[in-house]
C-alpha cells in the first residue's frame, strides 16, 4: 500500500515536472527570440529607418521607409480581398451549411486544406496567375497571394464564432418575423462580433510576417514603387534580402526591420485581446 502510494506520487511528480519544463521551454523560446531581437534591433533602429530609402549596395545608413509603406499597401490589398471573402464563406458554412450538406462539407474541407498549403506554394500560384501573364511583379500580386492565406483563416474563425451563438437568440429573432438574413445580420453577427474581429486582426498579423508568398509576387524595390502594378518593397522580403547579404550595415537594417515587424504584430495581438476581453458581456460572447 505504501509502495503503491509512493509510486503514484512519483508518477504525479514526474508528469508535473515534464509538463512544467515543456511549458517553460515554450515561453522561454518566445522570450529568447524577443530579447535577441530587441537587443540587436534596438541598437539598429533609428529615425532614419522610418523615413529614408535603402542606400546602394554596401553603403552605410539609409532606412526602409518604402518597405514599411509597401507592407502596409500589400496587407491592405490582402485584407480588402481576403476579409470579405473569408467572412462570407464563414457565414455560409455556419448559417446555411449544416452538418448534412455535402457541398458545405467539401467547402469546409477545402478551406482547411487551403489553410495548410505551404506559403511558398501560394506564392508560386499567385505568380503563375498574376505575375506571368502580366509580365511584371506587382503589389496587387503580393496582396492577392497573402489574401489566399487570409481567406481560410478568416473563414474558419468566423464559422466557429458564429456557430457558438446560441440557437435561442436566432429563434428569438425569427419569432419576431425577421428573415434569416436579417437575423444573421442584426443578431447573430453582432453577437459574435468581438470574436470575429479578433480573429481577423490575428489573421492579418499572421500574414504580415509572410515573406515566401511575396518573393515571386510583389518582389522587392529599392525605391518607392510607381504604383500598384509595380514591384514593391515589403518588410519581410527586405529582412530576407538584407540578412543574406554580406554587409554588416545591411544586417543591422535587417535586425531593425525584424524588430519593427514584431512590434507591429504584437500591437495587433494585444489590440485583439483587448477587444475580446473588454466589451464581452456576461453569458454571451
Amino acid at each position: 500500500m505504501t509502495f503503491r502510494n509512493a509510486y503514484r506520487k512519483a508518477v504525479n511528480n514526474v508528469m508535473l515536472t515534464l509538463t512544467g519544463v515543456c511549458a517553460v521551454i515554450t515561453v522561454s523560446t518566445l522570450f529568447i527570440i524577443l530579447a535577441y531581437l530587441v537587443y540587436n534591433g534596438g541598437k539598429s533602429v533609428n529615425l532614419d529607418f522610418f523615413i529614408k530609402l535603402p542606400l546602394g549596395t554596401g553603403e552605410t545608413g539609409g532606412g526602409m521607409a518604402n518597405a514599411i509603406v509597401g507592407s502596409g499597401e500589400i496587407i491592405l490589398f490582402a485584407s480588402l480581398i481576403g476579409i470579405p471573402i473569408g467572412f462570407f464563406t464563414g457565414v455560409y458554412l455556419s448559417e446555411w451549411g449544416g452538418q448534412g450538406s455535402v457541398y458545405s462539407f467539401v467547402v469546409r474541407y477545402m478551406n482547411d486544406l487551403l489553410n495548410g498549403v505551404p506559403s511558398i506554394v501560394i506564392g508560386i500560384f499567385a505568380a503563375t496567375v498574376l505575375v506571368k501573364p502580366l509580365h511584371h511583379f506587382s503589389a496587387i500580386a503580393g496582396g492577392f497571394a497573402l489574401s489566399l492565406m487570409l481567406i481560410p483563416i478568416t473563414a474558419k474563425n468566423t464559422e466557429q464564432f458564429l456557430s457558438e451563438v446560441p440557437r435561442a437568440l436566432r429563434e428569438g429573432s425569427y419569432a419576431l418575423g425577421a428573415t434569416k438574413w436579417r437575423t444573421i445580420a442584426s443578431v447573430v453577427v453582432p453577437a459574435a462580433r468581438k470574436g470575429i474581429m479578433t480573429g481577423i486582426i490575428l489573421g492579418v498579423a499572421r500574414i504580415s510576417g509572410e515573406s515566401a508568398p511575396l518573393l515571386f509576387t510583389s518582389f522587392n524595390n529599392q525605391v518607392w514603387s510607381n504604383g500598384i502594378q509595380d514591384p514593391v518593397a515589403s518588410l519581410p522580403v527586405m529582412i530576407y534580402s538584407h540578412a543574406i547579404s554580406p554587409y554588416d550595415d545591411w544586417h543591422r537594417q535587417a535586425w531593425a526591420a525584424g524588430l519593427v515587424l514584431l512590434v507591429l504584430v504584437l500591437i495587433a495581438n494585444i489590440a485583439a485581446r483587448l477587444i475580446l476581453t473588454r466589451g464581452s458581456s456576461p453569458g454571451r460572447g
Binding site: 436566432r170 429563434e171 428569438g172 425569427y174 419569432a175 418575423g177 425577421a178 443578431v187 458581456s281
Partner: protein, 297 residues
C-alpha cells in the same frame, strides 16, 4: 382537488382515439369554426369565444420520431390556454408548430392543418405569420443589444413604424410588460445587465411591440423566482384582452391561476382539453387525473 368518481375512468383501449374525440363541450360556440371572413377580422371583443387559432389532425415528426399524434385543438380569441403534461410529451413541439419556429430544425416535418383566423398557416408567408403570432421562450433570450433596441427590433425588421414613433412604441410595450418603471432610466444599457425576471419581461415586451394577435409562451417562468413569476402571470392576465395567449407550463398551479382552458398532453397525444376548473377538479380521463394528482409525470 380529488376528482369525483362519477365519471369512471375510460378503459385504456380508448387511449388511441382520445385525441380525435376531444371537443370541449363547455364551449359549444367554439365547436363550429366561424365562416371564413373576407377583409380584416373585427377585433375579437364582440365574439370572445371564437377560435383564433385552430389545429386539426396535426402530426409532427423529428426525422423518424413521431412527436405529435393527430392533435386537434382550438384556441379561443382573448383567452389563455395552458398546455400541461410531463417532459417530452410534445406540448412544446406543438406550441412551436403554431408559429412554425420548428421549420428551422433539420428533419422536422408536420402534416395536418393549423389555421389562424381560418387561414392555413402552413401556406402563409412565415415571416408575416410570426409577426402575428409572437413567442416567448423558456430561457430569457434578449439580444445582446440595448434595452431600447431589443424592444424596437421587431418594429424595425418588419418596418412597422417610422423612426420617430419608436420611442413611444417602446415605452408602451415596456409598460404593458410591467417593466417600464424599472428600466426607463437605462434604456440604452445592455439588456444582458438585467436580472432574469426582467430579461423575461423584456422578451415579452419585445414580443408585444409588434402587436401580435397570438402570444405563445414556452414555460416562460421555469427559470424565474416566485416574485418574477407572479409579475409575469399578472401581466398575462392583463394583456389577454388584446391578444390570445397559449402557455406551456410544468407548473400546474400556474395553469390553474392564469388559464381559461387547459390541454393535457401525454406521449405526443392530447389526452384531454377542457375548461381549466374542469381539468383540475373533474377530469374525464384517468391519465389526466393521475397526472394532476401527482401519481406520475
Amino acid at each position: 382537488m380529488t376528482p369525483m368518481r362519477a365519471k369512471s375512468a375510460p378503459p385504456s383501449t380508448d387511449m388511441n382515439d382520445t385525441s380525435e374525440a376531444i371537443v370541449p363541450d363547455q364551449t359549444p360556440s367554439a365547436k363550429s369554426h366561424p365562416a371564413p371572413q373576407s377583409g380584416p377580422v373585427p377585433q375579437a371583443a364582440a365574439r370572445p369565444a371564437e377560435a383564433k387559432m385552430q389545429a386539426k389532425n396535426v402530426n409532427f415528426h423529428y426525422g423518424t420520431f413521431k412527436a405529435l399524434h393527430d392533435i386537434s385543438l382550438e384556441f379561443p380569441a382573448n383567452k389563455v390556454t395552458a398546455l400541461i403534461g410531463p417532459s417530452g410529451c410534445g406540448k412544446s413541439t406543438f406550441l412551436r408548430s403554431l408559429n412554425r419556429i420548428n421549420d428551422t430544425i433539420r428533419g422536422a416535418r408536420i402534416d395536418g392543418e393549423i389555421t389562424l383566423d381560418g387561414e392555413d398557416i402552413l401556406k402563409m408567408d412565415v415571416t408575416s405569420l410570426r409577426r402575428r403570432v409572437g413567442m416567448v421562450f423558456q430561457r430569457p433570450n434578449p439580444f445582446p443589444k440595448s434595452i431600447f433596441e431589443n424592444v424596437a427590433y421587431g418594429i424595425r425588421v418588419n418596418g412597422l413604424a417610422s423612426r420617430s414613433e419608436l420611442p413611444g412604441i417602446v415605452e408602451k410595450s415596456l409598460r404593458r410588460a410591467a417593466l417600464w418603471e424599472e428600466v426607463k432610466d437605462k434604456l440604452q444599457e445592455s439588456a444582458n445587465a438585467l436580472s432574469g425576471g426582467q430579461q423575461q419581461r423584456l422578451c415579452i415586451a419585445r414580443g408585444l411591440a409588434v402587436d401580435p394577435e397570438v402570444l405563445l409562451l414556452d414555460e416562460p417562468c421555469s427559470a424565474l423566482d416566485p416574485i418574477a413569476t407572479a409579475k409575469i402571470e399578472d401581466l398575462l392576465v392583463a394583456i389577454k384582452d388584446q391578444c390570445t395567449i397559449v402557455i406551456v407550463t410544468h407548473n400546474m398551479q400556474q395553469a390553474a391561476r392564469v388559464a381559461d382552458s387547459t390541454g393535457f398532453f401525454l406521449l405526443g397525444k392530447l389526452i384531454e382539453h377542457d375548461r381549466t376548473d374542469v381539468i383540475f377538479k373533474n377530469p374525464s380521463k384517468k391519465e389526466t387525473e393521475d397526472y394532476i394528482t401527482g401519481r406520475f409525470g
